[in-house]
Amino acid sequence: MRIAGKGLINRKKPVSFTFDGTVYSGFEGDTLASALLANGVKLMARSFKYHRPRGVLTAGSEEPNALVTIGNGASQDPNVRATVQEIYEGLEARSQNRWPSLAHDVMAVNDLGAPFLGAGFYYKTFMWPKAFWEKLYEPVIRRAAGLGALSGAAVTDKYERAYAHCDVLVIGAGPTGLMAALTAAEAGVDVILAEEDSVLGGRLLSESGEIDGVPARDWAEATVARLQGMANVRIMTRTSVTGAYDGGTYGALERVGHHGVVAADLPKECFWRIAAKRAVLAAGALERPVAFQNNDRPGIMLASAVRSYVNRWNVAPGKAVAVFGNNDSAHDTAADLLAAGVHVSALIDSRPDATTDLPVPFYAGAHVCGSEGRKALEAVSISRASGIDKVQADCLAMSGGWNPTLHLTCHMSGRPDWDEAIAAFVPRAGMVPGMIAAGACNGVFSTAACLGEGAGAALAALDGLGVEAEMPALPAAEARDYRISPLWAVPGKGRAWLDFQNDVSVKDVKQAAVENFRSVEHMKRYTTQGMATDQGKNSNVGALAVLADATGRGIPETGTTTYRPPFQPVAIAAMAAGSEDKGFAPERLTTSHELTVKAGAPMIEAGLWYRPSYFPRSGETTWRQSCDREVMHVRQAVGVADVSTLGKIDIKGPDAGALLDFLYTNMFSTLKVGRVRYGLMLREDGHVMDDGTTARLAEDHFVMTTTTAAAGQVMSHMELITQGVKRKLDVRFTSVTEHWAQFAVAGPKSRELLNGLLDAPIDGESWPFMACGDVSVGGVKARLFRISFSGEQAYELAVPSRYGEALFAELRKRAEGLGGGVYGMEALNVLRIEKGFITHGEIDGRMTAFDIGMQGMMSKKKDFYGKGAAARPGLLDDERPQLVGLKPVGVVKQITAGAHLYKDGAEAVRENDQGYVTSVGFSPEMGSFLGLAFLKGGRARHGETVRMVDAMRGVETTCEVCHPVFLDPEGERARD
């Protein structure tokens, strides 16, 4: 019910929204919770396990009960706290975890079975038969218990990630935070003030006190205005700091598009990473409930929440409100209710010595011990020495004291201290380096003390930054002592709730203790207390106090569970923002990409690069037809392929040759200028890392090529060697992969093609096999390498990338004119398999030079990286898998990559495994599948017949083991 008063709602701007299909009206400034309460709606949710009717407990982000689902379809957002959700025109909210409706939930039958459903029930009951757990019990239990559900559709909303930097991050904008931000900002440093609420002011927005003689809220507003006017202050509202991480980095979640119908590109949430040199934690405190029988009925809420609804949103949460507490917060609440004209039916204070001047029925030294009403509170029972009184109330405001919101201080494994005077845990100094806790989150509760601590924390932060500043004049404010007498659970029968969100009662915690789950961490997991989405913000301290009592220990001895980020639920979509679809990984495209895609070539990924699989021509219905044709183009005419993706590393300097000698197993310093050599590179452990060719362009200038996907790895390997192993080498290197567009021109007609293109023709004598040098193409300075990965006479022509597309088009046209064409990765693969050339299919990180038959390339004349390790006896064992060729010789003609090899006649089981197939291709020239494989002691087994079994694809082929070079073993074709 809405009442008169000057709250923070705009009565001139009514807003209509729906809850479970019913249209309601609220005002701008309302949360969903305040607007529903204003409309008399108290039943907002059903509980997790027992489907008990629940209303709103709090007025903040710690709300455990009033969780709703916002929106529909792919953008459906479950478990949104009604206390956080701001209303806007057209908002659609739905209750969750109920069927068929919130008011009539058939699963509420669970509540009747409660005596059997306590802590540990599932563990003890659903043990047998074992197979039933996964198939029957778990699905049924999951269906019966739960909160909101995701839609199951992929998210279509936008989310965002961003970074921010500051000198001082102030977390929370209550009196402490505002004072800290102001003090730091006045000193001239960069300040970020992050506040999870939509309005700055914290508790000042909800309390009736004064600061400096004006209403506290006005002081907050004026202070915010000052901060807004300062260029060095950045105010981030609706932003929850969710975690404290190493190096002064904080995670924060900003609600951007949750409070209105939004533009198409507006993100729903933004996940910030804030790097702060210093931080002031001014997160305030959370009021805690008291456990008594049926303390969860709709209408029972925290006293501070009642004050918020009355003072900030001008909502009377009931017609007759009872107030119950163990500290002065209860008295404030009763006073505010009376001032707002709301009837207070009772004020119950558990402290025997409490007094009041308020004109209300007052019960000192008494407890609320029970409640009545099903879907809404109707009456409360008050126990006192003289007996039990029943008082009519449709709302109960309760206060069990305050817990400092110290969560962030514990994110680096620190544990808080127990402060007996306030019956609460408080942070220790220095738990998070660079972060200072101040105000209520530091266990200081009066407004005056908070203002002082805020300013003091800012000064300490400034001091840490080397900035001198003086203590500002502090505004005058309420400086009352916090008087509390601990009260965790009111004795009595029935269920007294601790964790509202996971339906955990005092009885459950006691049961855990009885069953010897005495450690607070064990109790938590056994009862599920604190394991819901609110992470037990309202219940952790109460539960461990009950556990401490049940186990006869003190609270400090019992200790807390671990506080972990995030402080608030964060959508995975926010943390992964931008990584969907094209944002998953960068795409590296060659200069020929556009023409290649236009030609209809399916693209495959090689590292981050995209390369053509094959180039289909009309009439070709399978990829094999295209691949066979492209292979024959190269073997009989000329083929062109984009090989720009191979890593190209430019190496310069007086010691360039010496570096290469150390990098490669074979010698490079003796290579003549204008020549190319094939090289093999090992890791420190003696296994092959990469292979490739390196060209010597000048005495002190080499260009190395690497495998496409290994370019980065080779570069960092070289950095390691030059920075850490051979530090005295005078050599510099850089990647030039991107600068050059490079094309393989391969086949008997390759020279003919080039001579039509190059500004000066070449011949076999001036450009023998493995020659390299500068050429000119249409006046463009280019590089030509006579190297071959196909075994044919072949060249690679490189031009600056800007000419890549034009050159590709030209090469393609000319190749087609000579009866050839462009070829893709499939044909490239067949061509190299025919020649027994290896790729990372073979050198997969587990192979040695010995395994691939290149032990002869390991120079005996010099040292090279990995040499010692490669000489270890185990790496030179004759029984190691060795590279061989495979040809089908039986009825089945197919060889498949990944298939395993067994001795002819042996059973295809793990124990008999002899090796596996690494690469296969169909050779059109030989009319047969060819395979490269690793076979135990394979080099000595050429001519032997083996059994190839592909258990995955169900293929079995009899193969003959042979030399891995199938075609032109002498290499005549490349040399002519």
């Binding site: 510099r732 030039v736 597309e805």
Partner: protein, 178 residues
């Protein structure tokens, strides 16, 4: 003689303008990576009139600018490197290796804040400062060229992704202003 037509890294992708922030390709220019040999740092700096950039800095030189480009190297942009430098440094032409774009406008800094962890406050990253850093999930060089304009240099092959990621951030920033 055939005539090879040149194509720039971002041809067909840029310019774009969203919410007052403009992203355009910088006209192709000479880019040469210069990395001094052992003990030749001083001689190299002298060849540039003492204007060799320190880490994170740029230096104007005749006809162009030297942009610090990582440990002991700088990129000379805008003019060809004198051949005499080869005595002091590894000089490598890289004009075609990079996509060079300019992000400018009042909201440009907010756009960058969506993509790079770099501290780009005025106090931390003044005009003329440069960094090798991360832009979403690619490595780039970012230089602040004026109050509201930033030059971003990324791999040429990743130009499409560079534009995609920047465009996404630009849309998000622009949507907040509505």
């Amino acid at each position: 003689m055939i005539d090879l037509k040149a194509k720039s890294a971002c041809e067909g992708l840029l310019p774009i303008e969203i919410g007052g922030v403009k992203l355009s390709e910088v006209a192709p220019a000479e880019m040469t990576l210069i990395a001094p040999y052992r003990g030749k740092e001083a001689a190299l700096a002298k060849a540039f009139g003492g204007r060799w950039p320190a880490a994170g800095e740029t230096a104007s030189v005749e006809g162009g600018v030297l942009v610090w480009f990582g440990r002991a190297q700088a990129m000379l942009i805008g003019t060809a490197a004198p051949t005499t430098l080869a005595k002091f440094a590894a000089v490598t032409e890289q004009s075609d290796a990079w996509a060079r774009v300019l992000l400018e406008g009042a909201g440009a800094r907010d756009v960058l804040a969506r993509l790079t962890p770099l501290d780009i406050r005025d106090t931390a990253f003044a005009v003329g400062q440069t960094a090798r850093t991360e832009l979403f999930h690619m490595q780039v060089s970012i230089t602040r060229v004026s109050k509201d304009a930033w030059q971003i240099i990324g791999f040429r092959s990743m130009a499409g992704t560079l534009v995609h990621d920047l465009q996404r951030a630009m849309k998000g920033v622009a949507a907040r202003a509505i």
